[in-house]
């Protein structure tokens, strides 16, 4: 079960012709797929596109009623390979993932499907994780579109444009027998808005019907001699067909006056930011009425030579607003201009920064400097925006504002794993730690500072494979998500085969937690539509690992530490796999909290734990925090007027996971922590015994108070 439920929102997906659809970008895309008559959808979750997968999953009933096949693919490669269904059959299909990382994983299948070409429309929806909030390397999906020859759509960021582009994209794909990528930028995925809906279309041919009547065409398979023919076909047939479709259907747009001494070319996805920048410079109004000619590329690959030359002809200079690097479009524009024999100067990187997100203020600055050089009459008077505070004042304030890196949630079961690692590290000395992708990668940040490299999803164990040490074993971390994505073969299987002597720690929290709590093969929950409860230990033993330890409670620091120490020091050779299992606390709380509340209301006995710190025995050293970093374990001003250092403090968000107590025992910290167990609706006997105890304790306390009063100040 995913972190966010779209059960109520997916009802909107049944909207018919003329209805106004209100909702988020991802829902709009799902609706557009249904309007396009897709026969199958698949994909792999990851920000910013996770919720698209959650919407598909929550809309399963609707998809089934329309005979649309949906799969939560095992990986992006799996999803991309699914597009094979569109090669021989007129089936429209869509797959989705986080890019650029997902595209990397998928690229083998993508190259194959792009080489042979498609019969039915094939669409790849890439959630472009670039710029603020991104968690991955800053690269462009554009390169994949170019190298495999897939068309790249980057519509203006409003729901109407995005929905239209999905529908047109399928037509483009079919007209040119080429897969199409729809680039959905981070902020468009969760952007709210509205569009006028059309009816959902049942696929004219279903996957079941296609399977019942197999078609074979050896010309579509990548093997000599067809592979050589594909290349020729790409450039001679599919390319011109694609260009003609984009041109004839006017997928790119122009705004502003027809003529001018300068012009602007912009990626569709950046159009709104450009307009805001121009508005702030007094060059456009809020409705996109522009004083400068704009050529908006809703299709960023391929470029349409005649459109480009028509736009540039007669202009002194054109600014290309293209985010990311290398600046492929800028290069291509220069080539097209040169071929057409035009004198127009193409300006891009230079006034605009080579790296980083093109937010409105970045474009504003770049555009201003472009205008100053090429069209001073349009250049704004100095200081278009507010007089910003002096840079020195901002810097001094910036020094005061602490960074707030992401970290493990309150009560996260992964925290004790790294507490144990940190303590073992103190005992045995540091090991090389190969990290993976997932929540557990937060270990590289304070307070744990554990982890040397990360090479990609599921590649933790593979990243440690070069280390064949004599005495000190390397440690690899892997999540259950990464394990099933490819880690089982690329990491664990590889270590068995090569007789690696590394330690692999698999964090098994029951979900693909970092992407929003989707189920994986080893999830503990029963699922109507998926097969779960397939243990990781069985899989590891299945590929030949002899040394496997499953720890079913990660909060048990002693067992965690002992297992790690044993794995690091055992004389046995070969890979050691530790499977650390406790349920993702975010999901657990969401599941259990309402149940507990209901039980308490119904008068049943409910016992809940939380932790606390006695401020008068806490001396403000914060060792406990350095071994935890839990959001609920914080500090507060020292109530002791003689002391200055803040004391540790547990706030009410504590879920009583028990780690604080384990840490103070295992690290021999201080006696300040206590666990408070609050019992709601206690039984009669329990109440009686407790009352008796309390009376005796109160009497004893009175005596102590008398003695205290005798020596009082």
């Amino acid at each position: 079960m995913a972190e966010r439920s779209f059960k109520s929102e997916v009802r909107k997906l049944t909207a018919g012709e003329g209805d106004v659809f209100h909702g988020e970008g991802i829902l709009a895309v799902t609706k557009a797929l249904l309007q396009s008559g897709v026969a199958y959808v698949g994909g792999y979750q990851g920000s910013p596109i996770s919720h698209l997968m959650d919407v598909f999953a929550d809309a399963n009933d609707l998809l089934e009623s329309l005979d649309v096949h949906f799969e939560a693919s095992a990986s992006e490669a799996t999803a991309a390979a699914m597009l094979a269904a569109s090669v021989n059959y007129p089936l429209r299909g869509a797959v989705a993932w986080k890019s650029v990382v997902g595209t990397n994983v998928a690229s083998d299948a993508l190259s194959n499907v792009a080489s042979g070409g498609v019969t039915g429309g094939a669409m790849i929806i890439v959630g472009e994780d670039y710029g603020e909030g991104s968690s991955i390397m800053q690269e462009r999906t554009h390169a994949f579109a170019m190298k495999s020859q897939m068309w790249l759509l980057d519509p203006r960021p409003n729901l109407t444009s995005i929905v239209d582009m999905v529908e047109k994209g399928f037509e483009l794909s079919e007209a040119s027998h080429t897969p199409v990528m729809l680039e959905l930028r981070v902020r468009s995925c969760h952007m709210t808005g509205s569009f006028v809906a059309r009816d959902n279309r049942r696929p004219p041919l279903t996957v079941a019907q296609a399977a019942a009547a197999p078609v074979r065409d050896v010309e579509r398979i990548v093997l000599p001699p067809a592979n050589f023919l594909h290349e020729v076909e790409k450039v001679e047939k599919r390319w011109p067909a694609g260009v003609a479709f984009v041109r004839d259907n006017k997928l790119n747009e122009t705004f502003g006056p027809d003529e001018g001494e300068i012009g602007l070319i912009v990626q569709g996805g950046l159009y709104n930011n450009l307009n805001r920048a121009m508005e702030l410079l007094g060059l456009a109004d809020a409705f996109g009425d522009s004083a400068l000619p704009i050529y908006c590329l809703n299709v960023t690959y391929p470029l349409i030579p005649e459109e480009v030359t028509d736009f540039c002809r007669g202009k002194k200079a054109v600014l290309i607003i293209e985010e990311g690097q290398p600046e492929f479009i800028e290069h291509e524009l220069n080539t097209l201009i040169r071929r057409a024999g035009l004198e127009t100067r193409i300006v891009g990187k230079g006034p605009l920064p080579r790296a980083g997100e093109y937010a409105a203020h970045v474009i504003q600055k770049g555009l201003k400097s472009f205008l100053e050089e090429w069209s001073p009459k349009h250049a704004p008077a100095p200081a278009p925006v507010s007089a910003a505070p002096a840079p020195a004042a901002v810097t001094s304030l910036a020094a005061e504002v602490p960074a707030r890196p992401a970290g493990f949630c309150t009560g996260c079961p992964e925290r004790p794993i790294f507490t144990a690692m940190k303590m073992v590290e103190r005992e045995l000395g540091p090991s090389h730690v190969s990290a993976d992708i997932g929540c557990h990668l937060f270990s590289i940040l304070p307070p744990f500072n554990i982890g040397n490299t990360t090479m990609g999803y599921g590649l933790g164990a593979a990243g440690a494979s070069a280390f064949k040490p004599k005495d000190r074993r390397a440690i690899a971390i892997m999540g259950d998500g990464g394990f099933w994505h490819n880690g089982l073969t690329s990491g664990v299987g590889n270590a068995v085969f090569n007789k690696n002597d590394t330690v692999t720690l698999v964090v098994d929290n029951g979900y693909s937690a970092a992407t929003g709590g989707q189920d994986v093969l080893s999830s503990r929950a029963d699922s109507k539509t998926r097969s779960t409860r397939n243990p990781i230990e069985k899989a590891a033993r299945g590929v030949g690992v002899e040394w496997v330890r499953s720890i079913d409670r990660t909060y048990d620091l002693k067992r965690m530490k002992d297992a790690l120490k044993e794995a690091l020091t055992s004389p046995e050779k070969g890979p050691k796999v530790i499977i650390a299992q406790s349920e993702c606390m975010l999901n657990k709380q969401r599941r259990e909290k309402p149940l507990l509340r209901k039980a308490a209301q119904a008068g049943r006995r409910v016992s809940q734990d939380r932790f606390g710190v006695d401020p008068d025995t806490c001396t403000g050293d914060h060792s406990c925090i350095r071994l935890s970093g839990c959001p609920s374990l914080s500090i507060k001003p020292n109530p002791d007027p003689l002391r200055r250092d803040p004391v540790a403090h547990v706030d009410n968000s504590c879920v009583g996971c028990g780690l604080c107590g384990e840490v103070s025992h295992a690290a021999i910290l201080c006696p300040s922590f206590y666990r408070a167990r609050v019992v709601t609706n206690p039984g009669r006997w329990e109440r009686f015994v407790n009352g008796l105890r309390q009376r005796i304790i109160t009497t004893l306390q009175r005596g102590a108070e008398r003695r205290l009063a005798a020596r009082a100040f």
Partner: protein, 493 residues
Amino acid sequence: MTQQRDRLCIAILALGGQGGGVLADWIQSVARSQGQLAQGTSVPGVAQRTGSTVYYVELAPMPADGRAPVLAQMPTPGDVDVVIASELMEVGRAMVRGFVSAERTTLIGSTHRIYAIAEKSAMGDGRADSSKILEAAAKRARRFVGFDMDAASARSGSVISSIMFGALAGSGALPFPREAFEDAIRASGVAVDSNLKGFAEGFDAARQPVAAPDEPAVPTPEPTTPFGQALAARIRARLPAAAHRNALLGVQRLMDYQDQAYAALYLERLERIAALDQPPHALTTETAAALALWMAYDDTIRVADLKTRASRAARVRGEVRVKNDQLLSVTEFMHPRLREICETLPAPIGRRLLHSTAAEKLLGRFFTKGRHVETTRLRWFLMLSLLAAMRPLRRSSLRYQEEQQRVEGWLAEIQARAPSQPDVALEVARCQNLIKGYGETFDRGLSSYAKILGFIRSGAPTADDIATLRRAALADEQGQALNAELNRLGAAA
């Protein structure tokens, strides 16, 4: 092309899990109910796991001619009408990112702190300076609406998102009536009653002048017993006025810790320092606090005493919010080592036991693991009470002897420096702060202290040197920074 700007740009800075998304939805919902266009965007992903994140909403009047306005997807510096920040440093971050402008921005921010990991994990006080943020907010926003939203949400039994929503309505920054805001909460259908309560709390608070969170000040103790009055009179007669408060607190602490004679010993020691001190008497003031803390060192007797007090039980009940019909049990996590036990015993026995391998073999196994001490059960309560009752025997304990020796050594160093180098003496006094905690923490602090004291004794350090060393000792747990500084200073000397 028409030049007008009738949209409203709203940026929300919140931490993952604070309901920034809910707030953004409410704002769009109220705007739409009032016939406006609304667009919201957010950045999903890892930032939502406890990191700070920005939600952005744009509102615009529904155009009469059907032309849709082009809305931006993120806040542009200088073009934000309302900034709502759920925590004080997020207020600061909004300013650093340029979202707040004096011409345009109504800044609505909570004044409470949620400490960042670097602030929390510092070995001493790593907190950022809140006053700088408050000062800048007052200066840089067109209007600053600030109050403690965390306290407000606790008062109203609600969540911080409803407080922020109420504050937004109360600020009058949006042209919608109060009822429209409340209807948006009702329409969402989730926890309506408590959200409305929170809304009302936020609405009213936004109409008050900016209030920094109140930090309860501890009053200077007034003596209530004859002996207390005698000591207080002695303080007033023999110590400089600047040091009175700390000395009164110190005397109170040590009477509570041990007895009247121990408090008198404290004053006697303090008077030795005061005799060498010059106005403004910073040395006496500082030593008054440090000496009291040192003399009230945390031993097993003290911990047992504090853990069994009635006042402590009441504090725990309040902190975990136990209702009358609920039962509470409290478990302490204690890990006494053989060493702590030896230190509690009379010095000769303790010392012999501590250095005997036979004893270690015989008894060591009882002290290898931590104990779950349930102080709400009679067995453990009686055991701790018994330990606390050993207070009168404390003077004979090994630890007492060790600590008195250390205190005297420290005082001697202060006394030696005070006449000629008062600033150095003051820094020596401050070194007490290095020794804190229990177990490994205590050992680490003591070793840092010993290193610095060794350095002081071996040469002619300046006050700055000592201050640098003290900071270095609190920079890392392995003592690397301290060793590096010691090497640097040692080489220079």
